[in-house]
Symmetry: C2
Subunit: 109 residues, 2 copies
């Protein structure tokens, strides 16, 4: 056991859950906020800003990249990361269409 049974859920449910999952770590939330405030940033800035090892930051960046919410551009010997505005807005829209489902008056509580 211990293996999520993705096949019994809809694509939408699986997709939403995996978007939430990428955001479900404070380091990744912090990375996104830092990039937004700085407009962009190089990986090493994050290592200094957050108190995590370089390998750990790199792994978190990889997960964020996996859903396209950030992208990296090689810049000299560094990599400059920035938000992909379109993906950012798409994810927000997906979350909102989930939350905008009408919550009707309850039968019980």
């Amino acid at each position: 056991m211990g293996l999520t049974k993705s096949e019994i859920f809809t694509d939408e449910q699986n997709r939403l859950a995996s978007l939430f999952k990428v955001l479900a770590h404070p380091a990744r939330v912090a990375i996104l906020q830092y990039i937004i405030n700085q407009k962009a940033c190089i990986c090493n800035d994050l290592v200094e800003e957050l108190g995590l090892a370089q390998a750990t930051i790199s792994q978190h960046l990889k997960e964020l990249k996996s859903i396209g919410i950030i992208q990296g551009t090689i810049e000299g010997k560094s990599v400059c990361y920035c938000i992909d505005k379109n993906v950012w807005k798409k994810i927000q829209a997906d979350f909102n269409s989930f939350f905008d489902q009408e919550v009707k008056v309850n039968k019980c509580c």
Copy 2:
């Protein structure tokens, strides 16, 4: 290692991440959608609707309850679960205030 260093992040970052985490499983997304469509539901309905064991559903319900997004009312020998509309809207608002941070023009990519 393998233990998230919550203490190095802000309360907001930790809170947001833990809200995302509760929603980061397709079964929990499915449970919320089912409750919304049915207006409310008893635990056993979910066991039949989704293909998961009763213990598993109960555990997922517990996690959803932990952030207050659903609440349960004892109804005879069953428990009727429903969405807490206020919490639902608050979470949506929190997500939106995160996503509404202005994503400025990038320096690099």
